[in-house]
C-alpha cells in the first residue's frame, strides 16, 4: 500500500480524535445555537419595551420649550433651575437632566448631566433629545406630520442593479456580512488550531526521535505530504459538518430574530470559494507549520514561532470595520493576494463587496504556488535540520541548508 496514504490515514484518524478538533467542530453549532438564543432573548426584551431611557429633567433657560413633556416612552420633566434638577437627580427622582442654555439658539449647545458612568451618550437618548427640541423649535412653522418625518430615521431603500440594468438577485445588506464574517472567524481559528496540532505532533516525534524510526521506513516527502493532506482533509471534513448543520441553524436564526435576519443573502460564489480557500488555507498553514516544526526543538517552541503567521491570519478580521467603511481601498487587494491573509480576507470581502475575478484567480494561483514551493522548501529545511536537537538553526544556517539541499 502506498506509504503516503498510510501516513495520511494514520494522521487523519489521529487528528479527528484530538480534543481540539472535536471541540472546534462541535463549538460552531453550539455557539450558533447560543447566538440564536441570545437573539431570541434580545427580541423578547425589546418587545417587552424595557429598552427606554426613563425620566429626564430639563431646565429651559432659552425659553423654547412649549409643548408636551412626553417623548416616546420617556417623561421629560421641567425644572425651574439647575439646582432643583440636580437635587432631584441626587434624590433619584430623575435619572438625568439637560440644560438648554440661554444662548442655545445661537450656539446649538445642550448640557447633559448624569450619575451614570458611560462611554458616550446613547443613540436613543440623543434621538430623544433631538426629537424633543425639533418638535418645540418647529412647532409653529411646519405641520406635525413634517416634524414627525424630520424626526424619523432615514429609511433608505437601496436597490442594486446589474450591468444590464436589471435588478440584481444579490441585494446589498449588512446582514450579508454575517455568514462570511462568521465563516472567516471560524476559518482563522481552524487554521490556527490545525497548525498548532501539526507542530505539536512534529515536535513530539522529533523530541522522542520517533521521527528517525519513521524516516527509516518512509521518505521525508512521503511523511510530510501525508501529514499535510491529512490536516487538509480533517479541515474539509470540519467545514462539511458545519455545512450540514447550517440550513437548520439558519432556519432557527431567522425564526428567532423574528425575520430580522431573514434577508441574509449568501453570495452565490461563497460556498464554492469558501471550500476552495478552506482547503488551500489548510494546506498553506500545514506547509508553514512543517517549516516551523523543522527548525524548532519541540512543540512548545514551534507553537510560539507559529504565532507569527497564525496571528497574521486574523489581520483581515481586525480591520473588518475599515473594510466596510472603505471597501475600495487597495490594501484589501494586497491582503487578498498575500497568501497568509488571503483565505480569511477573501471570505470577509465576499460579504462586503464584489471581488474582481482576476483578484480571486491571482490569489488562488499565488496560494497554490506558495503551497507547492513552500512544501519543497520545508522538506529541504526538514531534511537538513531534523537531526538537530537542542539548538534552533539561525537564518544563516537555514539559508545554508537550502543552498546545500
Amino acid at each position: 500500500m502506498n506509504k503516503t496514504y498510510l501516513i495520511f490515514k494514520h494522521e487523519f484518524l489521529q487528528t479527528i480524535k484530538k480534543g481540539g478538533w472535536i471541540i472546534m467542530t462541535l463549538a460552531v453549532p453550539v455557539l450558533a445555537l447560543l447566538g440564536i438564543g441570545l437573539i431570541s432573548l434580545m427580541n423578547n426584551i425589546s418587545d417587552s419595551g424595557t429598552d427606554s431611557v426613563g425620566s429626564i429633567a430639563y431646565v429651559d433657560e432659552a425659553g423654547i420649550i412649549t409643548t408636551s413633556n412626553t417623548e416616546e416612552e420617556t417623561m421629560l420633566i421641567p425644572y425651574n433651575s439647575v439646582d432643583d434638577a440636580k437635587e432631584a437627580m441626587l434624590n433619584s427622582e430623575i435619572s438625568e437632566y439637560i440644560l438648554i442654555p440661554e444662548d442655545y439658539t445661537s450656539t446649538g449647545i445642550i448640557h447633559r448631566y448624569t450619575l451614570e458612568k458611560e462611554l458616550g451618550t446613547s443613540p436613543l437618548t440623543i434621538a430623544l433629545i433631538k426629537s424633543f427640541l425639533t418638535r418645540n423649535l418647529l412647532k409653529d412653522q411646519v405641520s406635525p406630520h413634517l416634524i414627525s418625518l424630520i424626526n424619523s430615521p432615514l429609511k433608505l431603500q437601496v436597490t442594486r442593479v446589474t450591468q444590464e440594468g436589471d435588478i440584481s438577485k444579490e441585494q446589498n445588506s449588512m446582514a450579508n456580512l454575517l455568514v462570511p464574517g462568521i465563516f472567516s472567524l471560524l476559518l482563522g481559528l481552524s487554521l490556527m488550531i490545525g497548525s498548532m496540532s501539526l507542530i505539536t505532533g512534529l515536535g513530539e516525534e522529533k523530541e522522542s526521535r520517533l521521527i528517525e524510526v519513521l524516516f527509516s521506513s518512509v521518505s521525508i516527502r512521503q511523511l510530510l505530504v501525508g501529514k499535510v493532506l491529512a490536516l487538509g482533509t480533517a479541515g474539509l471534513l470540519q467545514v462539511l459538518l458545519w455545512l450540514i448543520t447550517a440550513p437548520f441553524l439558519v432556519d432557527l436564526a431567522v425564526s428567532a430574530s423574528g425575520g430580522a435576519i431573514g434577508s441574509i443573502q449568501i453570495p452565490g460564489s461563497f460556498l464554492v470559494l469558501g471550500i476552495v480557500y478552506f482547503i488551500l488555507g489548510y494546506l498553506l498553514f500545514a506547509v508553514l507549520s512543517i517549516g516551523v516544526g523543522a527548525i524548532s526543538n519541540n512543540g512548545q517552541e514551534g507553537s510560539q514561532l507559529s504565532m507569527i503567521y497564525t496571528m497574521a491570519n486574523f489581520i483581515p478580521l481586525w480591520f473588518a470595520a475599515l473594510l466596510i467603511a472603505f471597501p475600495k481601498s487597495p490594501i484589501w487587494i494586497i491582503l487578498t493576494l498575500f497568501p497568509i491573509t488571503a483565505p480569511v480576507q477573501t471570505m470577509v470581502r465576499l460579504g462586503v463587496s464584489d471581488i474582481p475575478s482576476w483578484q480571486i484567480l491571482a490569489s488562488i494561483i499565488i496560494l497554490l504556488i506558495s503551497i507547492l514551493g513552500g512544501l519543497s522548501i520545508a522538506i529541504k529545511i526538514f531534511r537538513m535540520n531534523m537531526l538537530m536537537h537542542g539548538k534552533r538553526p539561525g537564518l544563516t544556517e537555514i539559508i545554508h541548508s537550502l543552498k546545500k539541499a
Binding site: 500500500m1 506509504k3 498510510l6 501516513i7 494514520h10 489521529q14 480524535k17 513530539e204 516525534e205 523530541e207 522522542s208 526521535r209 520517533l210 528517525e212 524510526v213 519513521l214 524516516f215 527509516s216 521506513s217 518512509v218 521518505s219 531534523m386 537531526l387
Partner: protein
Amino acid sequence: MAVIEVNHLYKSYSGKDAVKDLSFSLKKGEILGLIGPNGAGKSSTIKIILDFMKPDSGEVRIFGQPMNEGFKNRIGYLPEERGLYKKLTAIDLIVYLASLKGMNKSLADKRAHTLLEQTGMLENKKMKNKEMSKGMGQIIQFIVTIIHDPELIIMDEPFSGLDPLNTEIIKNIIAKQRDEGKAIILSTHQMDKVEELCDRVLMINNGESVLYGDLKESKEKFDKNSVMVEVDGEIGKLSGIVEQRINNGCYELILGSDATPQDILDQLRKKGKIIRRFEITTPSLNEIFLGIAGGHNE
C-alpha cells in the same frame, strides 16, 4: 556480498570532523559491535548509513548499491532515544509501523502477536504507550525494529534501561536473528554485551576507526602477555617478569617479551608452590576501550 560496505567516509560539522576516513563492512549472519566514547561518531555513522544525512565524501553501499528508498523495507532501525505515539496501544503502534515497512495488516498483526508473546508482552498489547514503563516501551520498539523480518538490523543501545530478565530475552532474540542470517550493527556502551554477542568489533574515537576486526583477534592484539596467579604464601622471585601487581592476594604478572606463561608455571612448580589459581589473562573489551579512549583523549 557484503550487506553494508562503507568506504572512506568523511563528515564534518562546523569544521569539526565527526567521521574521518571510516571504512568497514558487514556480512550476512554477522553482528558488528560499534563502540566508542560519547561523541566518537557512532550515531553520525549510523545516520549516514540510513541516509538521514549525506557524507561530505566517501561511499556507503547497502546490499551492493547506494542507499535508496526501496531498501528501507529491508532495514530495521532502533534509535538510541526512543519514543512512541503516546495515545496508541502497543499493538496498534506495532501494526502501523510495520505497515510502513510494507507489511500487510494481517501478517503484521500475526507476527506482532508472536513477538509480543516471545517478549512476555502479549498481555499488555492493548495498553496505551503512555501507560507503559520505559522498559516495556523499549521492548515494543525492539519488536517494531524486527517485525518485518529485515535483512539488516541497526540498533543503537538496545539494552539501555532494560532489566536483566528483559536484557536476556532481547539478547537471545538478537542472537537468533544473527543465526537466521541477518546482518546486525549493535552500537552500545555495554562491552559485556558486545563480547557476548558480536563477531566483529569497530571501535571509533574522534570519528576515526581505532580498532576493527574479529573480536577475538582484536582482543589478542591488546594481549598484555600476563597471568593471574594465586598461591599459598609469597610468590617469591621469578624470572621473565617485568612488572607485578598484587590485588587481594592475587598476583598479576606482566611477562617480558621472551617469557611465556608456561615458563612461569614451571618455575612455580619447581619452587613447590601450591597453586590456587593460574590464569592467562586477556584484556576485556572494556579495558581495551578505556585504554584506547583514554589514550586518544589525553
